[in-house]
Point group: C2
Chain length 204, copies 2
Amino acid sequence: MSDTSGTGVTTRRQGRRPGTNTSRQLVLDAARTRFSSDGYSGTTIRKIAGDAGVDPSLVMQFFGSKEKLFASVMSIDPSVLETMTQSFDGPLESIGERVARAFVKVWDTDRTESEPFLAMLRAAISNEHGEAQLREFIQARLIHATGARLGNQPDAALRVGLASSMLIGIVVGRRIVKVPALVQEDPETLIALVGPAIQALFTR
Amino acid sequence: MSDTSGTGVTTRRQGRRPGTNTSRQLVLDAARTRFSSDGYSGTTIRKIAGDAGVDPSLVMQFFGSKEKLFASVMSIDPSVLETMTQSFDGPLESIGERVARAFVKVWDTDRTESEPFLAMLRAAISNEHGEAQLREFIQARLIHATGARLGNQPDAALRVGLASSMLIGIVVGRRIVKVPALVQEDPETLIALVGPAIQALFTR
């Protein structure tokens, strides 16, 4: 955290030059795309800098390390998280369709929203850095947030964890592994099939 | 494929020295463990050779490249595949419990059986090499093999693909991301919850 390089980077933060915020955003956007396409291991600071059109040393000045840059990228839009978390709210008899729709919406409808999620997923499965991120996401944000709301359900946290894992499995099949049978289906067909499965997890 | 190194490796195949099969097996075992723990990207020929107690050049002689070694490791025990594929056979009214149990058995009961599967899963999600492997596995072995048996079901292939993806999602949550709520549950509790969800995919 302290400025040991002698370049005065830390103090410069208080008096940023014009254009710094733009460069920072360009780097973040490039990193998001790279982590999403190449995974954590396959992404380098050099590649990201090249994509963003800046010098690699500037990326290091902004973020300090590949790991820290990754953590910044992983700050998924809170409204996306809210969409997924809130979908567990509401009448229990329609929870399956609601949750399936919310997850499908995040990864299918809006590519800008789903890219950081895919990046986290790839990274989570390929290395320890991302595992902790995804574990924290599922356990703290999804399970705890929703477990409290479904408090009168037995094993609420476990059911939410299973539902999330199963829906993430479909993301893996459709967007990452690209199983043909899943890729070619439209979202509504998937929701119609998956909704009742998720429903059965909660109200069989 | 041809021997361009001038070491006579190709011709040596016809007349193997004693002990070669053992070394080859040691390398395969070491590779399986490494790919499983470090993923495809994080694994090197050098690390595998070190684990197996052989020279890296011997690993290259046996397998030619990291990619080819990976392909050899990925040849999952056919009986394991058979367990998963056959679980879709039988009365439709108990398909959910049967399939959930078969998948849980593969990844929970026997670590020797589940390690190559985990390796494939990690590799599939972190890079293109493994994606093709897992795509081929799900599409050809699971979906086609079982789709034929469930021919009288509408969307049989799609339902099998969704069921497999959802169960693989639970493997990811339990064995790779290690979500605490999932890790701490015993297999029978998981089967009791997941079985009806898979069942609903086929007979809602």
